[in-house]
Symmetry: C2
C-alpha cells in the first residue's frame, strides 16, 4: 500500500507530538481532546506544541494524515497468482480474526477521526480517498479472476463495494460495540460467499 506521496520524515519533536496526540485521543476521545492534555501526554508545555503547529485545527489535520499513513502502512495488499487467495489475503489484512492491542488502538483512533468526516470536509476527503483506494484494490483482484476464468463474469465493482462495506462494517461494529466475535462470523460468511458465489461453478 505505497501509493501517493506522504510526508517521509517527521522531526523527532513532531513525531513525539503525534504520539502524544494518539495517546490523548485514546484516553479522552475526540470531543475531550485539548492542547493541554496533549501537552501533558507529551510531558512538555503547550507553547512547545504551538511552536510546531499554528492552530489546533492545523495539528488535527496533520494528525489525521499521520494516522491515515499509519493505517496504510499496516495494510499489505501484495498480490500472488491466485485471485481467490489474494482476496482472502486482503480480507485477512483488513479484518484479522485476532487483533493485537496495537491494531485495536489504531482502529479506535480511525473510528474517532472518521466520525469527524460527518461535519468536516477535510476529514471526509481523506476517508473518501482511503475507501476509493481499497475498493480499487479489491476490484482489480476480482477483475483478474474474471480474466483468468477463475471467477464468473460478475460485476466486479459491485462485489468490491460489497466486500469493502462488509469489512468496514465488521470493523466498525468491533470497535463500537461489545459484540466482539461477530466480526469473525461476518468474515467467515463473506469468505464462504467468495468461494461459492464468485468461483465459476464446476
Amino acid at each position: 500500500m505505497t501509493t501517493d506521496q506522504r510526508k517521509e520524515s517527521w522531526s523527532t519533536a513532531e513525531e513525539e507530538i503525534m504520539q502524544a496526540t494518539y495517546r490523548a485521543l485514546l484516553e479522552y476521545g475526540y470531543a475531550g481532546l485539548s492542547i493541554s492534555r496533549i501537552a501533558d501526554e507529551l510531558g512538555k508545555s503547550k507553547a512547545a506544541i504551538y511552536h510546531h503547529y499554528d492552530t489546533k485545527d492545523d495539528l488535527m489535520i496533520t494528525f489525521l494524515k499521520f494516522t491515515v499513513d499509519r493505517f496504510e502502512e499496516t495494510i499489505d495488499t501484495e498480490t500472488g497468482d491466485e485471485p481467490v487467495e489474494d482476496l482472502k489475503h486482503a480480507i485477512e489484512e483488513l479484518l484479522p480474526l485476532q487483533r493485537d492491542e496495537e491494531q485495536r488502538r489504531l482502529q479506535m483512533v480511525l473510528v474517532s477521526l472518521r466520525s469527524q468526516a460527518v461535519t468536516n470536509e477535510t476529514f471526509r476527503e481523506q476517508f473518501t480517498q482511503i475507501d476509493k483506494q481499497l475498493a480499487a484494490t479489491i476490484r482489480s483482484i476480482v477483475d483478474r479472476g474474471i480474466d483468468e476464468g477463475t471467477f464468473r463474469d460478475i460485476d466486479s465493482s459491485r462485489v468490491a463495494e460489497h466486500i469493502l462495506a462488509t469489512v468496514n462494517g465488521a470493523m466498525y461494529g468491533r470497535t463500537t460495540t461489545d459484540r466482539h466475535n461477530t466480526a469473525a462470523a461476518a468474515r467467515v460468511s463473506l469468505v464462504s460467499y467468495i468461494d461459492t458465489e464468485l468461483k465459476r461453478h464446476s
Copy 2:
C-alpha cells in the same frame, strides 16, 4: 421494532431541547457541541436547559436514548410469509437506495453518537443493544427460511452478522465519504448473494 420500554411522553420543553440538540449536533459536530449552542438553537437561555437536566452528560445520555428511539421507530421489520422477501425488506429498511433528507440527518447523528462508544461505556452499551436486536431479527428470518426449506442449511448467525456488517458498513461509508452510490452497489451485490447462496439450489 417495538421491543423494550421507552420513554413514551416527552414534555414539550424536553422535546424542544432534544430537537435543538439534534440541530446543534448536525451543525457543530459532537466535539463542537456545547450547552450555549444548544440554548441558541433552542432560542432560550442556558438556565432553561439546566432546569431539565442536571449536567451536560445527563443531557447527552438522554439525547442518545432519544435518537436511538427515533432510529428504531423508522425501522419497520414486519414479517410476511416469504423469508426471501422479508430479508430484502429488512435490507431496504436499513439501507434504502434513496435516502430523504431526514434519513440522511438521522444517520449523521447516529454516526456522530456511535463514535463516542469508542471511549464511553454508556454509548457502547446502547449500540451493542441496537446491533444485537438487528442481528436477532435478521437471524430469525433466515431460520424461518431454513425451517420452511426455502434456504439451504447454512449457519444463520454467521449470515446474519454478514448482512448486518454489510448494511452497517455501507451506511457508514455513505455518511463519512463522498462515495454516495457505493452503498447501492453493495446492496445489489448483497441481495444477489441472498438469492443465489442462501436459496436452496433447484
